[in-house]
Symmetry: C2
Subunit: 134 residues, 2 copies
């Protein structure tokens, strides 16, 4: 990538760990699916390939969303906020399941009377997604 | 607040600085407006008052969204993600302007041909929102 092509990446205000939070929003429905983290390589790879890549903070590795599950997120649009420290990616969620729990998205719990209540269903058994070994 | 009432706050996985990222999404349109940060007090106050409060990392202070501008965010729903380290708040955006730049939301730039291009208008002059002194 040339210096010029790279300029948009240089405008991102990475945090002390070299990361920005990235929100994935489903293009068709507008549902917010996930919040995860990207480093320079993840955002560059997301833009280049058209498939969302994150940085796994637990595994300390580049992570292509859906690499194991097949539940890839295809990029429609990448936005950045006013102070350039958060990213919003409009995606098509392949398989309709964004969360490793098998829910359609990670935000499947809502606050009701002081309790986080699950109000969205598991769409696919995680064992069916990842196998017994996980 | 009693220990029991406080339990849902105890389930949040705050980062090393005691914060979680909080996404504000407009209830009517589904538009993602802002990503900001909440500490324990901000999230508790948001839930108690029904108006969104954040933690200002630059000012190191509790910050009621719209306290100066009047552009309050009224809470419809508070969600948490699978690993309890991100919050999604469905809001009514009073005044239709979420961003201090006067744009309708903070995510007013999109990546086009390697450039962050502004594709949403300023709805209100920041000087009219905050005055000359800002």
């Amino acid at each position: 990538m040339s210096d010029r092509d790279d300029r948009w990446l240089g405008e991102v205000r990475w945090n002390a760990d070299g990361l920005v939070p990235a929100i994935a929003q489903e293009a068709g429905t507008g549902r917010v699916l996930t919040l995860a983290w990207m480093n320079h390589e993840a955002l560059a790879t997301t833009a280049r390939t058209g498939e969302v890549h994150y940085w796994s903070r637990s595994r300390r590795a580049l992570w292509k969303k859906g690499e194991t599950s097949g539940h890839v997120q295809k990029v429609k649009d990448i936005r950045i906020d006013c102070d350039a420290d958060a990213v919003l990616v409009s995606v098509e969620q392949v398989g309709g399941v964004a969360c490793h729990t098998g829910h359609g998205r990670c935000f499947y719990r809502t606050l009701v009377d002081g309790v986080w209540r699950e109000d969205e269903p598991v769409l696919k058994d995680p064992v069916a997604i990842y196998g017994e070994g996980r």
